[in-house]
């Protein structure tokens, strides 16, 4: 019994660690390795197209792209909004934000989401939804985002 428990906990720890490693190290720069700091437009557009494709959206065009770089260090940031369409022709804005990794010297995906999506916190009011429902929505969003990462990774793997 003890052995089974130990084996299960080791397997669980391994699964959690490898998933964290994949989400934090392998996935963020996936497909962006070849772009230098100044090629931020290309890197951003690839990230935007991959994000839209894996979210079931059609990428239309970038609304704007903002690039910022401090003078005193190696850091760099690029963010912007991609206009996209759902399958039934509704307009959606996707926020795509990349950071330059000062340690690895590559662009990494940092924070991307569909703005004002159906389950967005922006629609919350003080009384609705309730605390339990909020926790459920948050958990669902995390799992959805993880699944999207996997989809994005697998779909661009074949290209």
């Amino acid at each position: 019994m003890k052995k089974i428990l130990a084996a299960c906990s080791i397997a669980l720890a391994l699964a959690v660690c490898s998933f964290a490693f994949w989400n934090g190290y392998v996935y963020p720069p996936h497909g962006l390795h070849e772009y230098s700091k100044d090629q931020y437009t290309q890197a951003w557009e690839i990230a935007a197209r991959d994000f839209c494709a894996s979210s079931g959206l059609t990428f239309v065009h970038p609304d704007f792209i903002t690039f910022r770089k401090p003078e005193t260090s190696d850091e760099a940031y690029v963010w912007g909004v991609a206009r996209s369409l759902t399958r039934d022709g509704r307009d959606r804005l996707a926020w795509i934000y990349l950071e330059w990794s000062t340690k690895r010297h590559i662009w990494t995906r940092s924070y991307s989401l569909v703005l004002a999506d159906g389950d967005d916190e922006v629609f919350y009011t003080p009384t609705y939804p309730g605390q339990f429902q909020r926790a459920l929505i948050a958990l669902r969003k995390i799992m959805k985002e993880n699944a999207r990462h996997v989809r994005e990774y697998l779909s661009s793997q074949g290209q």
């Binding site: 260090s73 963010w79 509704r90 959606r92 703005l115 004002a116 922006v122 629609f123 009011t125």
Partner: protein, 150 residues
């Protein structure tokens, strides 16, 4: 044998203590700009540059959330949809969210302004070669109550 190990451990502990002292000493605002001015000013300016960029980004995302909400409202109007109350993104809540975003825009614009002022201040400190001085009454110190600092 025993004595040798003891001495080794003591030496290791002393090394750690010295390292801790050095780390803490270099964090003192009186010491850091005096002993490592280049690193101090670079850190100061870099910190505020990154803050400014962050505030700009936060301003941008809020504006864009507002635009996305306007899109959703226009879409509901154009398609004549009025989602039921148990759908999170219904018309009333979308309108409320839009007002909330517009209110936050003002505050975020202020934050950008403050961050820019902080950056300018850091750059002027760097240009002046500011140091804390060794006493509270010294140049750049807190000065005396009732008297404006130079």
């Amino acid at each position: 044998m025993r004595g040798k190990l003891d001495r080794l451990v003591a030496l290791g502990l002393f090394f750690c203590l010295a390292l801790t002292f050095e780390k803490g000493f270099m964090k003192l605002p009186e010491v850091f700009p005096k002993l490592a001015p280049a690193s101090f000013y670079r850190g100061l300016v870099n910190d505020r540059e990154n803050s400014l960029i962050m505030k700009e980004r936060h301003f941008d995302i809020n504006v864009q959330i507002g635009k996305a909400l306007e899109l959703r409202l226009a879409e509901m109007k154009a398609r004549g949809e009025s989602p039921a109350g148990d759908v999170l993104a219904d018309r009333e809540r979308a309108e409320m969210a839009l007002r909330k975003t517009l209110a936050k825009d003002t505050r975020n614009a202020d934050y950008v302004l403050l961050a820019r002022q902080n950056l300018d201040r850091a750059r002027s400190l760097q240009a002046k070669g500011w140091t804390m001085g060794w006493s509270l009454g010294g140049p750049g110190g807190l000065g005396e109550p009732g008297k404006a600092r130079q």
